[in-house]
Symmetry: C2
Subunit: 285 residues, 2 copies
Amino acid sequence: MCGTDLQLLRGSAPFTGIPGHEFVGTVIDAPRADSRWIGRRVVGEINIGCGRCEWCRNRIKEHCPNRTVVGIRGRPGAFAERLALPAANLHEVPAEVDDEAAVFAEPVAAACRILEQVEVSADRTVAVIGDGRLGLLIAQVLMTTGATVVVHGRHEWKLRIARALGLEAYADAAAPAARHDIVVEATGRGEGLNRALELVKPRGTIVLKTTCDGDSSWTGWKAVVDEVRLIGSRCGPFAPALALLQSGAVKTKPLVTGWFSLADHQAAFDAARSGLKVLLDPHLE
Amino acid sequence: MCGTDLQLLRGSAPFTGIPGHEFVGTVIDAPRADSRWIGRRVVGEINIGCGRCEWCRNRIKEHCPNRTVVGIRGRPGAFAERLALPAANLHEVPAEVDDEAAVFAEPVAAACRILEQVEVSADRTVAVIGDGRLGLLIAQVLMTTGATVVVHGRHEWKLRIARALGLEAYADAAAPAARHDIVVEATGRGEGLNRALELVKPRGTIVLKTTCDGDSSWTGWKAVVDEVRLIGSRCGPFAPALALLQSGAVKTKPLVTGWFSLADHQAAFDAARSGLKVLLDPHLE
């Protein structure tokens, strides 16, 4: 479960059907041409393009205007016993990455997307605002670049987990006064952006990760006066994400709040609202 | 006069004193080291840095935290008979650029700033939203790259001026449905940003030029889903701006609403509110 699932449940998008887009599973059937996948343990990219538009021809299915997205847009998701996906979307999970870690491949890929968009190097300082599921993955991914990374959060128990993961983490109000080259806004709340504008240096970069529904208020003129660059950032590459999970550079165990059966979905959603990562297992009774 | 002057008059910033930051004048006095400037007709960059901070050491006085800005921040402006400025800020005006055109050097420089920040090339399509003073200068500057530029506005009489300047210009509601590689938000209103999000392609760029005071509302999640890049853009380089005015690539005559004396300042401000560019001339009676 991720924050997007909670938003969909609140009705933030016109999606009906089975949600869920962070998953691991075993391929049980495939067309003959893809039969080599049968029996393999896989994770999967969640965007499926039309295959014909300019975006698809450039292999950027994430922006195909006619795309479906697993459990988010026009396609059944992973809170289910079975799920269908084109073989082109599959990535085999290395043996060292257990199921509990493998479900993080999708959000870790979304974190890796930042490295495709912004030059994050060892001489940069980065603030990640948001101590939730995504924030703590992003901070770990950015740490692999050698950059100085600090997490700003609002929940002491999550900040303790951040520190256990080796991250420098502060209650936002108590964080050292500093402005950063890069600020990642991963609070899940519209108000996070104004805080990002306070924390970023002039001509610095704000990475936008929050997809909360509806409009929100921001002090746009500050972005103009400081000539800030803001970059919307969504889905990312699975191969480096799996490599980071395999090497242990990104740790996920402290982020798991609990496992639930599909029958216990109500308790699972409740736990996801107050906790970090909640896993649904169709094989649990 | 520019939109910022009207905002300052409304109290949008804690500035008191003489406003005005778009000007042309003749140097009447200078310290001995700068005496070669005396008698020359000049325009001037408006940011003055402390000379000691990291920004100033990197020659980016526009972001010096202790900067003053002519007529905007901590320094008397140009609605006056005389004005003091460091010689380093001066640019001599070519003879071919008359006074009425020379006052546009500062906003044309701000338009040229976009070319430093964003790659605008002949294969790109650009929409400029806003048919005001700045929008019509930006559109002309971007046209010099060979890019396809369209202006979206709300005032038929300004759109007619845009067309007279050789620009493709539409009433926003009647503009052809298209999404652009680059959208420049120069409406002077917070609402302009959501329109920019509608007009920009996925992974496209929005240049933010509006510095209207206060907070405004926007649909931030759209920027994330479409992975849009937004870039705040402020002051720019004077040398290319003067060259564009000299060559006639940027035309200013149709943008001038009228000339007023300092004594007629009230009428001048009224004209600036409803018109395009208003000039104050201290030598007018």
